[in-house]
Each structure stands twice: as structure tokens, then as C-alpha cells.
Amino acid sequence: MIRNMELLRIENLCKTYGKGENEVRALDNVSFTVPKGQMTAVVGPSGSGKSTLLHIIGGVDRPTSGKVWLDGQDVFAQNAKNLAVFRRRQVGLIYQFYNLIPVLNAEENITLPLIMDGRKPDKAQLEKLLDMLGLRERRDHLPSQLSGGQQQRVSIGRALFTSPGVILADEPTGNLDSRSSAEIIDLLRRSNREMNQTMLIITHDENIALKCDRIITISDGRITDDKLTGMGVSSNV
């Protein structure tokens, strides 16, 4: 029952760039829902609107029209400050190029959203997360002292640490070798399973998509396909 509870609802989402002749419709009336705990892959060719969709869901970008509901909350009904707080508490963003803060070490990067929120990190939770990420030995290292895979694990840790409503990953393995990619996907999968963490992953990699519960295909800003994978079917079962 809980697994099928709707967490994310996208309604008639449109996003256009430019005006007149230069107008580009990045998202065209996109609607779908994501139940809590589902790991969804968003696939599609370059320029199809995947990243735009992810950024809008994450409250980083604003839609031209349409609505995004996360955990029953209308994301864009909030002012800029509340939107930032929303991103901090409800969204975990993972980028292809990690986007870690270079002056903070691994541990500080992971706890940053919580610290921004004025809360004290739970030490036990942090230790557990560092163990899960395999970063216990690297916690004091700066991003520049970590490998790509390690940096991405820090980025995942940062996204997971606040236990957000949804984790949004924009090609999280796009900048990694195949071994690191596999490790990252396993890590995401594990956190999805163990923490019942809802995830939306943008990827070009079919193998990664197949490891998710559901695959949404976008083309020219529209959803052209939306299907459950074997993983998704089994998890539903």
C-alpha cells in the first residue's frame, strides 16, 4: 500500500524558451505521477527536455505553465525563500559533474544542506551513511582529493542525508567509467531499497534504466513512452 502512495504529481507541465520565431518548447504538456519509493528512469535523446523536467521538479527552474506537486505540496506556489527551503528539505539533487563545494571536505559537503537549515547533523546517521557510501576513510578529503566516483558518492550522500522526498539525478554516471558507474547505480538502488527513497534518474544508459522500476521516455518535450521494467513489476508484485 505504502509503496503505491503517490508522492510526485506532474500536471500539464510546459516550458518554453525564447519568443516568436525563436520559441523552443522544451516541455510540452507533460503529466505523470510517481509513487513513493519508486526509482524512475527518464530517458530520451539529447534536447528532449529531460534535464529541464528534472530541474523544474527540483524547484531549480520554473515552468511556463503546469504544476508540480511533491508530497501534496504545490512546489511553485511558494516564494523564492520557501522554494530554497523546499529544495533543501524535500529534494536531493545529483549532478553529472557532482557540483560539490570545493572548500568543504566530504563530510562537510554531505551535511551542508542540514547545516544551512540550522540543524545539527545526527552523528549516528552520518556514520551510517558514510559507511554505506564507503567514504569513512575519505571524510576529511576535499573534492579535489577524491576520484570522480568518490565525488559522486559524496554528492549522493549530500542528496540522501536530509532524507528528502525525492532524489533527482541528472546523468549521475555520465562522467564516470563503467566500474564507478556500476557502483553508483548499486548505491542508488540500495538507498532506494533500504530507505524507500523515491528517485528520478536521467540517463542515456539503457542498462541503468533497466535497473530502475520504471522508464519514462521523453522526446521533443513529450512523454512518448512510460513503462514498468522487470524490476518495477517485481517490486510492485
Binding site: V60, R89, L93, N99, L100, I101, P102, V103, P113, P143
Partner: protein, 759 residues
């Protein structure tokens, strides 16, 4: 040509940056032009002053007609001759109008080739300074070249710092285009072509920046010239008449050209340097904006402890460019110290000097000694001074050495019998005399008895009390003129004391005095006594013949004094001192002339000139400090603006990432404010510490120099603090502007674009 096209496109596409770069070039050029213009004005004033004194390059005196002809033939068209006839001989003054080449023969006495042709006696004067300034010969050119090179080295020191202004502009402008340059390189642009684009851009922008800077610099130079004039520096070295005639603002086209060329080279170096920095990055680094890695951070930060996580982030961000942070904080500190600390220290010195002047000379501007003789009266001199109209007040102080004893004839004192007028008298006792001036006058006048230093009669003097009658047994001073003294045989010269006037040249005695004991007694009654202790300062510098210890006031009037003077003293060599306050500072030179016209008068002390010199030195120091402060502040602010604004631009993606993970605008601005605050706070705290140390050091210095024995110097550690923190606050505002403006501009772009660092 691809590079020229790209440079033009970038200039027109990035209008704001182009304007900023033009302004920066203009600012740097303006300061450079100002330095050169001030230098040429300075040289011109010296040259004109030199010409005014000796209006020739060469002067040949005592020539006969044949010699004049030889000179005339030799000079020919190279110069102009002025022939003056005096006492049957001719003087020829030569002003060369052309470069006369290598005429020196290695003889430092300036024996020009011309002199080889002249036979017989003559006098040769070479105005070597004017020859140098007019660069008449090879040696003069070499001297001027050396002088200019020395100036140029000093200028270079300043303009090396000014290069930062231009560098900053190029760095900001190129920072935003790093990705574009990366793209250009990735599609095949050679590194050299990128450098060429940026360098060409610099050249094109210089076309506007250089003339603009030169015009502004000339205006700034004129403002500096006016400031220096208003400080009275010209009057210190020249009379007002000469200053008005010779001191003019001067623009030297050659120097302007040098400034322009130097500025242009600087622009090219900056542009080239920026280009070289851009191409150091690999195209992929530039495209992905990954040139900005941090390898080490300090875990503990005081700033973080005080201001929380925002403070910690700010501290770490600032320390990412540790070297530049330190240079900026140090230059900020230095400029704050110059602004606040040096002015406080100058105030201490100024206060000390004015206290010394006030204690020593009171408000008198000019002190004259008058040596009356048998036929003159000091009253005549006083009348002349009063009637001149140059003085608002003329005070009189007459003293006369003698000995005194009380009625029982037991105690004897060496005494100075003195007359003070009301003003001097009241000043003597800080307006609290033991007996009022009126009482003294009513009681029959007064005489001041001063125990002489070498006899230490202070204790005995204490025994005198009001009502005592004193017998004055006077020593007669016999005035002996220099001629008279020189005619005396050696054995008769004993007991004659040489008197040296203050204005005497070569320490030659101006006259001689012989002291003779007299048998004439004169009785006066003490109407009051007073203990008067003078400070060491007053004793050491005052014109008054005073000693520490007890001061005894006895009775006497001016009439009494006159009688004593006429009947008992003899008339020679009485020390009469006039203290004069100028009615207007403009009367200074007139007053000097008046006093020179009064016979037997000598300027004892020119307090007006001392005060003026002190004021001028302080004003000059303040101008120099203001100039230095301006330069260093400029460097500090430019550095800070550079670091903070480029820091924000460099961290666009990083700051956007923070916002993506939930940092609010307020937190972002808060962190930026902390970064700015760290600069200002660090500089403020450092300046406070250094300034306090400097004030302490000044106190120690004054102590070592003995000034603290003379004046009660209060070291006010608090006085510079408001200035220090005001300067720190201003630097904070400048820092805030340089961070907030690019940040606010950045905020206008979407987070998505920022995180991808899309231009």
C-alpha cells in the same frame, strides 16, 4: 583577419565590460599623467627660479672688446648674447638656443671650448643648473637623463601597482569568456590567436582610454599643483612675489608622450598577460569551468567560530587565493594606517611643536633684540614698530644684569632687572601674578629679580619677602664696537666679552661688551614675591633669562627702570627685546624690512617663519601621506574588487550549486557579506594593533628625543580608532559593492544556466 573581427565583436557585445576596461585604462593613465605633469611643473619652477637668479647659461665678466668679439663669433647662431657695460669692462651673458654638443672637456670647472680661445683675464660664471635644465650640452643631457631615469624608476614603482587596475578590468572581462575561449580553442583556434584577440581588444580600447586618461590626469595634476600651492610650499622657498611670478602649472608634451607610451605598454602587457593566463587552461578545463579547484583548506577558522557556517565558508573562500588575500589585507591595512594612524601621529607632532612654540615664544611672531646706545632710546624703536601698522601687538621686555642685596646687606644676588609691559607681565605668570599690574604701577613700579643660573641664588632669593627694600648695585655694560675692539692692545682685551648676534654670519662677533662694577646703589622695594617655576621646555627655548627654582618679584616701574638705566647702568648694551605679533601674515616681509631699517636692531627669533616651516612641513607631509594613501588605497581596493568580483564570477557554478541544494538568497548574500567583512575586519584589527604600536613607538621616540621632558605628550590611543574603523567600514562597503553587484547580476540568470555555466 579573424582575431581583429573577434576583438571588435567582443568589444561591441560586452559593452559594460568594454566601458569598465576603458575606465580602468583611463584611471591608470590619469594617475600616470598626473605624476608626469607634476614632475614637469616642478622642474619648470626650479628652472625658472634658477633663470630668475642668473638669467644666463654662461656669463663672462671683465672682457675687453676683442674678447667680446671672440665670444660673439664663437656663439654665432647657437645662442643669444647680452652685453652689459660696467666700470669700463664688458660682461657678456650667453643663453644658448641650440644644443651645443660635446663642449665639455671633462673639467668639472666648466671650462668650455670657448674659454680656450680667450686670452687674458676674465671671469667665467656658468649657470650649471640652468645648463642642465635646458639640456644645452651633452653633459647636461646626460644629467637630465639620469634625473629623469630616477624619477621614472619611482614612477614605475607606482605604475606597476597601477597595472593591477588594468589587469583587473581584463581579468573580469576575460573570466566571463573563458568558456568561449575554450570553445574557440576546441574548434581549432591556436593559443596565439586567443592571445592576439585579447591583446587587440586591449589596443582598441586604449584608443579611447589613453586620451581620456591623459585629459583627466592633466586635470588631476592641476588639482595637485593647486593643493601644493595652498599648502604654502612655494612660499617657503620663494618670496610671495617670486612665487607669483615663477610658479606656474606646466605641461611638457614629451612627458605626456612618455606617459601615454608607458600606459599603452602597460595595457598591452596586461592584455597579453591575461591572454597567456587564459591559454594556460586546457580547452576542456575552460569549457567545463573546472580550473577552480581547491587543494587545501584550514579546518579551524576564527571567523567560522564567531560567525558560524557562513563565516567558515567565507573564510575558506577568501583563503582560496591566500596570497592575494594577504596582499589585499596588508595593503588595506597600510592605507588605513596612513589615513588614520599617520594623521594621529602627525597631530601628536604638531601639538608638541605648537606647545613648544607657545611655551617658548608665546604668540609672538617676531622677536627683535634692540641694542640702544647713548643716543637712542628703546621707546623710539617701539614707536617705529607700533606706527608701522604691520603689528597687532608690540610687547617689550627689557632686562639688565646687576646685583642686589637686602637692607641688612647680608644677602647679595646677581640679578636681572627687568621691565615687562602689562601683556608680557601677565603672560609671565599665566595671568595669575602675585601682585596685579595696576598694583605694581601704583606702588611705584616693579622690577623682576631673577637668580642667575650659575650662582644658584634661588635659596637666598626665597628669603626676600614683600616689603623688603633692596639695594641694587649695578654692573655697567660698556659697549665696544668691533673696530674699537680690534684697535685695543691684547692686554686690554681681558674681560671683554664677544657678543654674537643671531643673524651673524660665520659666527663673527657683532660687538663686544665690557662689564664694570659700579659703586652706585639704587633702592627699590619689593611689593610682592612669587614662586615661579618655569618648565624645562620654557627654560630651554625661551628668550627669557630664567631659571628653574624661585622667582622673586620686586617693585619697580618703567620710570624706575629708566632711572636705573640712566643713572646707574650706563647706556650701553642693554638687552631690549620686542615681541611682535603680525597683524596679518601677508605683512611678514614688510615687517622684516621695517626692522632691518631700524638701526641697532637684530632679529632674535623668527617664530612666524618657524611656525610657517612647521606648518608647511606638516602640510607637505599630509599631502604626501594623502597621495600615498590614495595610491595604496587604490591598489588595495582594486585588488579587493578584483578578487571579490572575479571570485564571484569564478564561483558562479558553485554558488548556483549551493542554491540548488537549498541555500536561500539571504544565506547566499549573508555568506558574501561575511567574505567582505573578513577583509575589512582583518584590515581593521591589524590597523588597530599596528596603529597602537606606532603611537606607542612615537611616545618612545619622543621620550628618547627628550621631548617628553619638555612637553606633556598625551598619547591618545583612542583618537585614531574612529578613523580606522570608518576606513574599514568604507572598505567593507567597497568590498560589498564589488561582490554584491556581480552576484546580483548573476542572480538574474537562471540557476540552471548558472550550474551549467552557460554564457
Amino acid at each position: 583577419m579573424f582575431e581583429r573581427m573577434m576583438a571588435k565583436r567582443y568589444i561591441s557585445a560586452q559593452k559594460r565590460h568594454s566601458v569598465l576596461t576603458v575606465c580602468s585604462i583611463a584611471a591608470a593613465l590619469a594617475l600616470m599623467t598626473m605624476l608626469f605633469t607634476c614632475f614637469s611643473t616642478f622642474l619648470n619652477i626650479i628652472r625658472d627660479a634658477c633663470y630668475d637668479d642668473k638669467p644666463y647659461h654662461m656669463e663672462l665678466r671683465k672682457l675687453d672688446d676683442e674678447q667680446v668679439q671672440i665670444v660673439s663669433d664663437y656663439v654665432g647662431d647657437m645662442g643669444e648674447l647680452e652685453i652689459i657695460e660696467e666700470n669700463g669692462t664688458k660682461t657678456v651673458r650667453i643663453m644658448f638656443t641650440e644644443y651645443i654638443g660635446e663642449v665639455m672637456e671633462g673639467d668639472p670647472s666648466y671650462s668650455y671650448k670657448l674659454t680656450e680661445r680667450l686670452e687674458g683675464d676674465y671671469e667665467l660664471n656658468v649657470n650649471s643648473v640652468l645648463v642642465m635644465f635646458d639640456m644645452v650640452d651633452l653633459n647636461a643631457r646626460a644629467q637630465m637623463a639620469v634625473m629623469f631615469s630616477m624619477f621614472y624608476i619611482v614612477v614605475l614603482f607606482f605604475i606597476i601597482m597601477l597595472r593591477m587596475v588594468i589587469d583587473t578590468a581584463f581579468e573580469i572581462s576575460s573570466k566571463e569568456r573563458e568558456r568561449q575561449f575554450g570553445v574557440l580553442r576546441s574548434i581549432g583556434a591556436a593559443p596565439g590567436q586567443i592571445v592576439k584577440i585579447i591583446t587587440l581588444e586591449g589596443l582598441m580600447l586604449s584608443a579611447a582610454g589613453v586620451p581620456l586618461g591623459m585629459i583627466s590626469g592633466t586635470i588631476l595634476g592641476y588639482a595637485a599643483y593647486r593643493a601644493v600651492l595652498s599648502a604654502g610650499i612655494a612660499d617657503l622657498y620663494l618670496t610671495p612675489e617670486k612665487a607669483a611670478r615663477l610658479v606656474h602649472f606646466h605641461i611638457e608634451p614629451l612627458y605626456l608622450l612618455i606617459a601615454a607610451v608607458t600606459g599603452l605598454i602597460w595595457v598591452l602587457l596586461s592584455a597579453y598577460g591575461t591572454g597567456m593566463r587564459v591559454i594556460k587552461m586546457s580547452p576542456i578545463q575552460a569549457i567545463s569551468n573546472r580550473s577552480n579547484t581547491v587543494k587545501k583548506v584550514k579546518r579551524f577558522s576564527l571567523f567560522g567560530t564567531v560567525f558560524g557556517w557562513k563565516g567558515k565558508m567565507a573564510s575558506r573562500n577568501n583563503l582560496r587565493q591566500l596570497k592575494r588575500f594577504i596582499i589585499t589585507v596588508l595593503s588595506l591595512t597600510f592605507s588605513i594606517i596612513l589615513f588614520a594612524g599617520i594623521s594621529t601621529i602627525t597631530d601628536i607632532f604638531e601639538k608638541t611643536f605648537s606647545t613648544i612654540m607657545m611655551e617658548g615664544y608665546g604668540e609672538d611672531d617676531l622677536l627683535y633684540i634692540y641694542y640702544p646706545d647713548m643716543d637712542t632710546d628703546y621707546r623710539d624703536c617701539m614707536k617705529k614698530l607700533e606706527n608701522s601698522g604691520y603689528f597687532s601687538k608690540v610687547s617689550l621686555n627689557i632686562t639688565r644684569s646687576g646685583s642686589a642685596r637686602t637692607e641688612n646687606d647680608e644677602e647679595k644676588y646677581c640679578a636681572d632687572v627687568a621691565y615687562y609691559d602689562r601683556i608680557s607681565y601677565e603672560k609671565l605668570f599665566d595671568k595669575k601674578p602675585p601682585v596685579s599690574y595696576d598694583e605694581l604701577t601704583e606702588s611705584g613700579g616693579y622690577v623682576v629679580l631673577v637668580p642667575e643660573n650659575e650662582y644658584s641664588f634661588a635659596d637666598e632669593a626665597e628669603k626676600i619677602s614683600a616689603g623688603d627694600t633692596l639695594t641694587l648695585k649695578m654692573i655697567k655694560n660698556i659697549y665696544v664696537s668691533v673696530d674699537e675692539y680690534e684697535r685695543l692692545p691684547e692686554n686690554e682685551r681681558n674681560g671683554i666679552v664677544a657678543m654674537h648676534g643671531q643673524t651673524a654670519e660665520n659666527n663673527e662677533p657683532q660687538y663686544y661688551t665690557r662689564y664694570e662694577n659700579t659703586n652706585n646703589d639704587y633702592y627699590i622695594t619689593a611689593v610682592g614675591t612669587s614662586e615661579k617655576t618655569y618648565s624645562e621646555l620654557a627654560k630651554s627655548i625661551s628668550h627669557m633669562n630664567i631659571d628653574s627654582g624661585k622667582y622673586v618679584i620686586l617693585a619697580g616701574t618703567l620710570d624706575t627702570y629708566d632711572r636705573v638705566w640712566n643713572e646707574y647702568y650706563g647706556n650701553a648694551g642693554i638687552f631690549t627685546l620686542f615681541g611682535c605679533e603680525l597683524a596679518d601674515p601677508g605683512y611678514y616681509y614688510g615687517a622684516l624690512n621695517i626692522i632691518n631699517d631700524i638701526p641697532r636692531t637684530e632679529l632674535f627669533l623668527d617664530a612666524f617663519d618657524i611656525r610657517r616651516q612647521i606648518r608647511t612641513v606638516i602640510a607637505t607631509e599630509r599631502i604626501a601621506v594623502a597621495f600615498l594613501t590614495g595610491m595604496i588605497t587604490l591598489i588595495a581596493v582594486v585588488n579587493m574588487v578584483n578578487i571579490l568580483s572575479t571570485g564571484v564570477l569564478n564561483r558562479r557554478s558553485e554558488l548556483a550549486s549551493m542554491q540548488c541544494i537549498g541555500m536561500t538568497d539571504g544565506q547566499l548574500y549573508g555568506m558574501t557579506v561575511m567574505e567582505c567583512l573578513q577583509y575589512s575586519l582583518s584590515a581593521g584589527v591589524l590597523a588597530t594593533v599596528i596603529c597602537s604600536l606606532l603611537i606607542y613607538g612615537t611616545g618612545q621616540f619622543m621620550n628618547a628625543m627628550g621631548a617628553t621632558d619638555l612637553v606633556d605628550i598625551r598619547l591618545d590611543y583612542i583618537a585614531p580608532m574612529p578613523k580606522i574603523w570608518l576606513a574599514a567600514a568604507v572598505s567593507f562597503i567597497a568590498a560589498l559593492c564589488s561582490s554584491i553587484i556581480p552576484l546580483a547580476n548573476m542572480q538574474k540568470k537562471s540557476l540552471v544556466d548558472m550550474i551549467r555555466t552557460v554564457d
